[in-house]
Point group: C2
Chain length 130, copies 2
């Protein structure tokens, strides 16, 4: 795994970068929030997920009041360095609604049940590989 420096991160005009938080235990995407440079430095320093709250306009240590902390396993950065992923050991729920993940609702969408050509090839490939 290639390591990259925090100074490479491209923050937006507000000094923020989107952060995706994924559970190390379940692989679930738990939440998506934002961080400024200070929040990421604090995350590295403490080993616990820290964000920047846009509504409260200040640093936000996840779980500071709720106790539902997120212990960092890895901090990943995307190819164009403008998106961050916190892989975390999560304790308790991530969402203020009491749900495990903030993404607990679906946009109304019905998947086409008929497999398409891509899917057939994918299954064939898996069969060959196994």
């Amino acid at each position: 795994m290639i390591d990259i420096d925090i100074n490479k991160i491209k923050f937006d005009e507000k000094g923020l970068v989107p952060v995706i938080t994924q559970s190390y235990y379940t692989g679930k995407v738990l939440m998506q929030a934002y961080a400024n440079k200070e929040a990421i430095e604090k995350t590295i320093e403490t080993g616990y997920a820290t964000y920047f709250s846009r509504s409260r306009n200040k640093l936000w240590i996840k779980g500071e009041t709720s106790g539902n902390k997120q212990k960092i396993v890895k901090i990943k950065i995307d190819c164009d360095e403008d998106s961050i992923l916190y892989l975390v050991k999560d304790y308790g729920v991530a969402c203020h609604t009491g749900e495990e993940s903030c993404f607990y609702r679906d946009i109304d969408f019905k998947e086409d049940q008929k497999p398409d050509a891509y899917e057939i090839f994918h299954k064939l490939y898996e069969k060959i590989e196994s």
Copy 2:
């Protein structure tokens, strides 16, 4: 699972919303991009992940040129309706670098190897539940 209407989505001042794309097959977070309302409508209509390219300032059907399409399984929305998750059946790689996921690099961070109180309680809880 609760279904929610597309009109509930809170787009930012540029008419965009961050989209996290996760593989249905591996659970990996593949990429993070943006969508406008049209991109989400197109995604629902076609069943394939569509984004809005900020650099090219136009609709971006993932895999249109590379062939690495993303077939939608679910479209999820977060608690405050300002972040979207595409759960996809991915064919080929997601990243233009040739990597499976755009998040192929780590920010320099060494996890504390010593388990903390939270982790001990979590393991104990798992033991009790099993």
